[in-house]
């Protein structure tokens, strides 16, 4: 086979499953080993993962359905499950050099066929990654405080961002919102309870590792602050604990949550960057699948931007929410 010559910036890579661990209901931490020649990555970037082992036996499809009830038992699995065709986009949740290998972390929630297959991957199996893709969260010399607001599967990129900010010497605070405690893909420090009043603390190990205090919210009050994570943030801001000057808020998660965070931040004069999510086919700007409405200097006042290449990170002022 004639090999194409990928430029160093991005490409298709075979990754070895180093470990695949269930973090909480429906969420897994997939650690993937690639060569140390894997291109440079930044927080906010993602990879397109082929949700099937490249070679080797495919494991059984373990799919815990939780509250939705068990999968139907009366049909044979061959009819229910089918091959996954397209790659699925996942944010980088971290990157580490271990023993001469580069380890990329992906935290994913089982929501369908592709992610169910990822959950079934066993150590030693190989998957194909395409990337790294997309732009990254940015800050500048004047940034004095970063506030990381992640909701559900929007949390993984925030972990990577926390690490990068730490390396850059930028103090940060994290806001982690989930619907219920059993869906928090993060580990709690038993000695540091999450504040019910929404006070940040070193309660989440993955953030505490980088010196980042965290506020947790759950919709049902099963952990931390009861209510929306945007509300927890604005309570704190409106108490005067954080000032707009020198602060930047980063957010990733369900669109309704990001919109609440973005609009609340802009109204209060805070800078805000949002990591948008769209259904993607190619992930590299070729197919025009992944558009979102952004402001533009044209007669319409808006245009479609590609989330995969113009984003995923946009300045909140650019986004026209729908």
């Amino acid at each position: 086979m004639v090999k194409s010559e990928p430029q160093p910036s991005r490409g298709v890579f075979a990754a070895r499953v180093r470990s695949n661990r269930r973090l909480c209901d429906e969420h897994y931490l997939l650690r993937l080993e690639v060569g140390t020649d894997f291109p440079l990555t930044q927080a906010g970037q993602f990879v397109q993962v082929q949700c099937a082992p490249v070679n080797g036996a495919e494991g059984p499809i373990v799919h815990e359905w939780g509250e939705k009830g068990p999968p139907p038992q009366f049909q044979s699995p061959e009819l229910v499950e089918s091959q996954v065709l397209l790659r699925r986009p996942f944010s980088l949740a971290g990157r580490e050099e271990i023993g001469g290998r580069t380890v990329l972390d992906i935290i994913h929630r089982v929501v369908g066929r592709g992610s169910a297959r990822l959950a079934a991957l066993a150590e030693g199996q190989t998957v194909s990654l395409l990337g790294p893709l997309g732009n990254a969260f940015t800050w500048d010399a004047d940034t004095k405080l970063a506030v990381l607001v992640g909701g559900g599967v929007g949390l993984p990129p925030m972990l990577y961002l926390a690490e990068r900010l730490h390396q850059a010497g930028k103090p940060a605070l994290a806001y982690a919102g989930v619907t219920s405690a059993n869906l928090l893909p993060l580990s709690l420090d038993a000695a540091v309870p999450a504040s019910k009043a929404g006070w940040p603390s070193l309660c989440v190990r993955e953030f505490a590792r980088w010196g980042v205090q965290t506020t947790i919210s759950t919709d049902d009050g099963s952990l931390g602050y009861t209510g929306r994570i945007s509300q927890a943030l604005f309570d704190w801001i409106d108490q005067g604990r954080i000032v707009a000057a020198g602060t930047i808020v980063y957010t990733c998660g369900p669109e309704r949550m990001m919109r609440a965070v973005a609009e609340g931040c802009l109204a209060r004069g805070f800078a805000c960057q949002v990591a948008m999510e769209r259904k993607m086919a190619c992930g590299m700007g070729a197919c025009q699948s992944c558009v979102c409405k952004t402001r533009a200097q044209n007669p319409l006042g808006w245009q479609y931007s590609l989330v995969c290449t113009d984003g995923t990170v946009f300045d909140a002022r650019q986004i026209l929410w729908e």
Partner: protein, 312 residues
């Protein structure tokens, strides 16, 4: 030495492999994943006279063994294409076929006329088959009278460029539309475009695509496309000596060879590029291997060489 070159209506291609319109942008998007210069030709995303924003998202959804798309011909428009994209295409040093779409015949002709002046462009692929825009495209593509009309008008304006008519599979008999295009002077035929389809979210009881319907592509459509290529080849193209560019679900060299046996001269790959851009080269090399094993030195002996089973 295996010679994979083909002659597509007078345009010499180093091999039959091409990118299917709309799945490879304007080439530079794939730059770092695959060396496109090793293809036979490059087919661009549809170009319209004015830029098009396209449909609202979600524009794609994966289905079993395939995907639906309703991009809505989002593209930069003729002017930006000529200014910004053509120079990039020149770097490819490949024959380029530009897919042209429109809502009126005048729209089509304006683009076709402008392309006649562009050196790197060697052909126009007339998209009369886009299922995702309400106003036009497919309305031309299902009616043989309209196909004949638009093909004839387009051919008059093509200048140096060859005219490829991309047929819709959303017809009762694709040989009828193929014959109409050939009668009006098409130099080559592309088939197939996507199949109009729908997928429904059962929880919300709404279609998954914002556009409600979309076009089905990928491995799910491959056997239907093989049949259509066979039908067009035997019922129209072979006698008229009009080459066929086949597409629809090619993922593997075997899928590609099926099309060649059924009568295709060119092969375009779409959906599979999203999964593995380099599959183009793997497929090309797989075809060369196949020829070697079959004891052939070129594609000629296999194109259209299918032997039908005799009914017992």
């Amino acid at each position: 030495m295996i010679d994979l070159s083909v002659d597509l209506a007078g345009v010499k291609l180093a091999n039959p492999l091409m990118t299917a319109s709309g799945t490879c942008g304007y080439a530079q998007e794939y730059g770092s994943y695959v060396d496109l210069r090793q293809l036979g030709a490059f087919i661009t995303k549809s170009i319209t006279v004015r830029p098009r924003l396209g449909n609202p998202p979600g524009r794609v959804v994966e289905t079993r063994a395939g995907m639906l798309n309703a991009i809505g011909l989002a593209n930069v428009g003729l002017e930006a294409f000529l200014k910004e994209k053509v120079p990039l295409l020149e770097d490819l040093a490949l024959p380029v076929f530009v897919n042209v779409a429109g809502t009126t015949i005048e729209d089509y002709l304006a683009v076709i006329e402008a392309l006649a002046e562009v050196k790197v462009v060697r052909g126009v692929e007339l998209n009369v088959s886009c299922p995702n825009v309400k106003e036009g495209g497919i309305t031309f593509g299902v009616d043989p009278v309209q196909i004949e009309h638009i093909t004839r008008r387009a051919k008059e304006r093509c200048g140096k460029n060859i005219l490829i008519v991309k047929l819709s599979p959303n017809v009762a008999d694709i040989a009828i539309t193929a014959r109409a295009a050939i009668a009006a002077g098409a130099d080559a035929l592309s088939l197939v475009n996507t199949f109009t389809a729908m997928a429904i979210d059962v929880e919300t009881a709404r279609p998954l695509l914002a556009n409600n319907t979309g076009g089905l592509s990928g491995p799910a459509i491959h056997p239907i496309a093989v049949y259509m290529v066979h039908r067009v080849y035997t019922q129209a193209a072979r006698a008229a000596k009009v080459p066929i560019i086949a597409m629809g679900g090619i993922q593997h060299w075997r899928d590609a060879v099926e099309f060649l046996l059924a009568g295709a001269t060119g092969l375009a790959i779409g959906t599979a590029l999203f999964v593995d851009p380099a599959c183009l080269l793997a497929i090309r090399d797989g075809i060369a291997d196949y020829l070697r094993r079959q004891g052939h030195e070129s594609l000629d002996p296999i194109i259209g060489s299918l032997t039908l089973n005799t009914a017992s």
